[in-house]
Amino acid sequence: MAAVADPDEELVRRVGQGDPAAIQAMVARKLPRMMALAQRMLGDAGEAEDVAQEAMMKAWKQAPRWTPGKAKFDTWLHRVALNLCYDRLRRRREISVETPPDRPDPGPAPDRGLLAAELGQRVDGALKALPERQREAIVLCHYQELGNIEAASLMGVSVEALESLLGRGRRALRAALADLAPGANPDAVGARG
C-alpha cells in the first residue's frame, strides 16, 4: 500500500517528543476544527467543548506512538471526534425516549427581513434538524472541507453513497430555507456571497 502523504506528519512527530511549540501549533491547527465539527454535529457549544478537549487529549496520547504513512493524522482525529459525537447523540436518543425534544424553530415568516445573525441561526437550525448521517456528510464535506474519498472513508461508505447523503441533505436544507431563496427574500442569501 502506498504511504499516505500527511501534512501534519512533522508536527505530530514533534508533539510526540513533547515539544511545547509543536503542542501550541497543534492546538492552533486542530482545536478550532474539532470544535467546529463537534458543535455542528451536536448543536451545543458546551458539549462541543467537551468533545474537542477529549479528542485533543486522545491526540496527545496517540502522538508518541503515531506511525506515519498509514493514515492522515487529521482524518484519525476526525474519526475520534465523530465517535465522541455519536456517543453523545446516542445518549441523547436514550434520554429523549422519555422526554421528546422540542421541535426546531421553523423560523421567521417569509416576509420578515433577516439580519445576518438571524440568517445564521436559521441555517444552523435547519442543519440541526437533518438526520445525523446527512448532517455528518455536509459537515465533513462543506465545513471541514475534507476530500470526498476521505469523507466517505470516515463515514464508512462509498463515494456514491456519500453523494446520495449529501444530495438528500442539501435538498432538505434548501426546502427548509426556501423562503430565503430569490423572490422570497433576495437580499438575505445574496448578501452572504
Partner: protein, 141 residues
C-alpha cells in the same frame, strides 16, 4: 455528462467544482465550457445553498478551552521520547536477559571449575600420599 447529471452533482457536492470527485470534475468543467447556460442554472442553486451554509455561525474556541487543552498535554505526560521507545524497551529487556544468562553461565562455570580443581587437588594429595607411603616403606624396609 448531461444537464441532469450536472444538476445531480451540483445538488450533492455544491457549486464549487473543486469539491467534486476527481472522476467527475473534468467532464463537468467541459460541460461548463460547452454549455454554460445549463451549467450556470445547475450551479446557481448550489452556490446559493453554499452561501447560506457559510452564513451559519462559526464556532469559536475560547481562551479558557485553549488553555485547558494545552495543559492537558502535560497531564498526558507528553515529554521527550526516544524515536523507537518500543524497540528500546525490547532491547533493554533482551539485554537484561542476556546479562542474566551470562551471569548464570559464569556462576555455573565457576562452580564446575572449583569442583574440578578440588577433585584434581584431592587426586594429587592422594597420589603424593601413596607415593610418600611407598618411599617410606622402601626406605624403612
Amino acid at each position: 455528462m448531461n444537464a441532469d447529471r450536472m444538476r445531480d452533482l451540483a445538488e450533492a457536492w455544491g457549486g464549487d467544482l473543486r469539491r467534486w470527485p476527481l472522476t467527475e470534475r473534468e467532464a463537468a468543467e467541459q460541460f461548463v465550457r460547452t454549455r454554460p447556460d445549463e451549467a450556470g442554472r445547475a450551479l446557481f442553486a448550489a452556490r446559493q445553498l453554499d452561501a447560506a451554509l457559510d452564513a451559519a455561525p462559526r464556532p469559536v474556541v475560547s481562551v479558557e478551552l485553549r488553555d485547558r487543552v494545552i495543559a492537558s498535554a502535560a497531564a498526558a505526560s507528553l515529554r521527550s521520547h526516544p524515536v523507537w521507545p518500543g524497540l528500546r524497551r525490547l532491547l533493554w529487556v533482551g539485554g537484561a536477559g542476556w546479562a542474566a544468562a551470562a551471569c548464570a553461565g559464569i556462576a555455573f562455570g565457576m562452580s564446575l571449575t572449583s569442583d574440578f580443581e578440588r577433585q584434581v587437588q584431592l587426586d594429587v594429595v592422594l597420589e603424593q600420599a601413596s607415593v610418600g607411603g611407598l618411599d617410606d616403606e622402601a626406605v624403612l624396609g
